[in-house]
Point group: C2
Chain length 369, copies 2
């Protein structure tokens, strides 16, 4: 039989994720599988918790990787923190804000949304006005909107949420590992991320962290969490304490990958990595503009790790991306929603964010224009 | 910094799962990560669907691996198939039947349960009586109860469920790949499995399949599936059709592992593998009885891949298992619930089910008695 896994090329993944996986992480993925209650595995779990606390800048005890992709992390936060008829406000300026709205609505919350044009950031003053008008149990926003390349000003929104008394939930899927995420300092109550962006792991896990205030809400629920698999009150018993009550069988080898990814990041230095992302972002933008291309997002709001660039008139989106993929082994992303066919999304995430990769991509794009 | 992943020993995993991973699957796990919309990856996805249909003996179009462990598969089936106030009957004779009850209750169903003593099978005649009394929308049962080592007679229960008009949901986490699972012939409407048992993959994915009748129920729901991440009506659009609408980023490398596991099984031959499990089960039981140990479950109801054996009086459960783990690199499982401290659970799953492993384990146990 033909094995489709033979002769797969190593791709340069410069789309919206997954990003290029580093050799050390590939190596970690195929270490010997241990049992999920083996003391040596539990030591790895304990270390992952510490690593995550470090990278998220939090002291939160309830800091665990969920056994699913970033979207499972989103679902986890909502399903644990929302009860039916809770008032929820979602700040939306892209696909992932919209997804939050869908997830929250399915859980029976009263969901309001405050929408901002795609490609522009959430404006804190408008959030302030809305929050002055109505009490909310939870306010949610995306830090790094992967669909447009916009950074939302979490630190400027947080004080208004605190004043309202709501829990503050932040999607940090794309930001963690590529730019500062100050969970405690900014006053974030719940956060989720993903492994396949700036952590440069394959997709499959979603780090989640809850503040003491979020844990209090979870503890005081009137109803059980309506999702057994993602019930953090049960999962916490497996990830901490002395009894380690079995919940579900943890994805052992994926957790090896996450451990190694965080190990590598802490060894390189978080600050060093943020600088590397920013430097390569500047280098990429400079190169794209030199080729006559125009960025979608205004300079102050641009994410370093996700660069949306307008497709010039007369250039066929699909053709260019197919050529990059097939002839150059480079993947970049297309636009989503209103930007489909109008922008490319170029990722500089984790192990993809190096100068030689930017050079390779710029050369390939140049040949297509 | 000390890297905890260095020098991990290759363990002989003979507990209730995860099972020992074969070298070919380790190899697959660290193949180059592709994008989740890369045509070559989509070809791998299409093949995985065909492989799963083959191993489940089904023609069901909606046959996909969910991005979570076996428990996520359980949650998937209930959350997609149950609407509030549906009548649900759970047949319980162990931990995993009990878990089904918890999952279904959280979704607002009216849950009845029919309980049978742990260590004994579900009795079809009793199910028949219950089903004659009340209409149900869904009846659920575990095929291979991993907590006790009992095989439930799915084929004998199915006709009564069909007569009632209910959907028939079966947990096949531990049975798939180690004993026959005839989804279509037996009349199963929804099934879920896991990768870390007889497929010998690391944990992390849960194959799920829905019959046309189950799909009809999903399609005719009055309310949205109350879980976005596990919503099969959305996931189906990514796993089939020509548009491949992005849902969540698939766990690429875990899917490589699943592909390889199914590839290996189909190459060895499903029947051959079932015979291998049965032969090694017989060999193990013979050896255990020779050592004076007694099996928990009566012979006709024993699972080949999960062997519950009574711990002799005067033997300390924890000590023996710790010695096996630390001195012999062998993991076996302890008892759960009422059987905690009273039985060991010995797995013969997938790549663990070989004669030399049984010999190694029997030798190690002998030294402890």
């Amino acid at each position: 039989m033909l094995n489709l896994l033979n002769n797969l090329d190593e791709m340069l993944l410069m789309g919206p994720g997954p990003s290029t996986v580093s050799p050390t992480i590939y190596e970690a993925l195929h270490r010997p599988t241990l049992g999920h209650l083996d003391p040596r595995f539990i030591q790895i779990m304990d270390t992952i918790k510490l690593q995550l606390q470090t990278i998220l800048n939090t002291k939160n005890v309830l800091t665990v990787p969920m056994s699913g992709t970033g979207s499972a992390g989103m679902e986890t936060c909502f399903v644990n923190l929302i009860e039916p008829n809770d008032n929820v406000l979602i700040l939306i300026n892209g696909v992932f804000g919209g997804r939050m709205q869908d997830v929250a609505s399915r859980l029976g919350a009263n969901v309001d949304s405050l929408e901002f044009p795609w490609g522009t950031p959430v404006i804190p003053e408008k959030v302030k006005l809305q929050l002055a008008e109505k009490k909310y149990q939870l306010v949610a926003v995306v830090h790094a909107e992967t669909s447009t390349g916009v950074a939302n000003p979490i630190d400027m929104i947080a004080p208004f949420v605190k004043e309202n008394g709501a829990l503050f939930l932040v999607d940090a899927v794309t930001s963690v590992g590529g730019m500062p995420v100050e969970m405690d300092k900014w006053g974030i109550d719940a956060i989720y991320s993903g492994t396949q962006k700036c952590l440069s792991c394959p997709p499959g896990l979603s780090p989640v962290s809850f503040s003491p205030k979020a844990v209090e809400k979870l503890t005081n629920r009137k109803s059980k969490v309506p999702n057994w698999y993602l019930d953090l009150s049960l999962i916490a018993n497996y990830w901490s304490g002395s009894t380690r009550v079995y919940h579900h069988t943890a994805p052992i080898n994926m957790l090896y990958g996450l451990y190694q990814a965080l190990f590598d990041i802490l060894e390189e230095g978080i600050l060093t990595i943020h600088v590397r992302h920013k430097k390569n972002h500047d280098y990429l933008v400079q190169g794209l503009e030199y080729l006559g291309l125009e960025m979608l997002v205004d300079k102050p709001y641009r994410l370093p790790m996700l660069n949306a660039v307008k497709i010039p008139e007369g250039i066929n989106d699909g053709d260019v991306r197919a050529t990059l993929l097939n002839d150059y082994n480079i993947e970049i992303g297309g636009g989503l929603g209103i930007f489909a066919g109008r922008v490319w999304r170029i990722g500089l995430m984790g192990h993809s964010a190096y100068e030689q990769n930017v050079d390779k991509l710029l050369g390939a794009i140049k040949n297509q224009l």
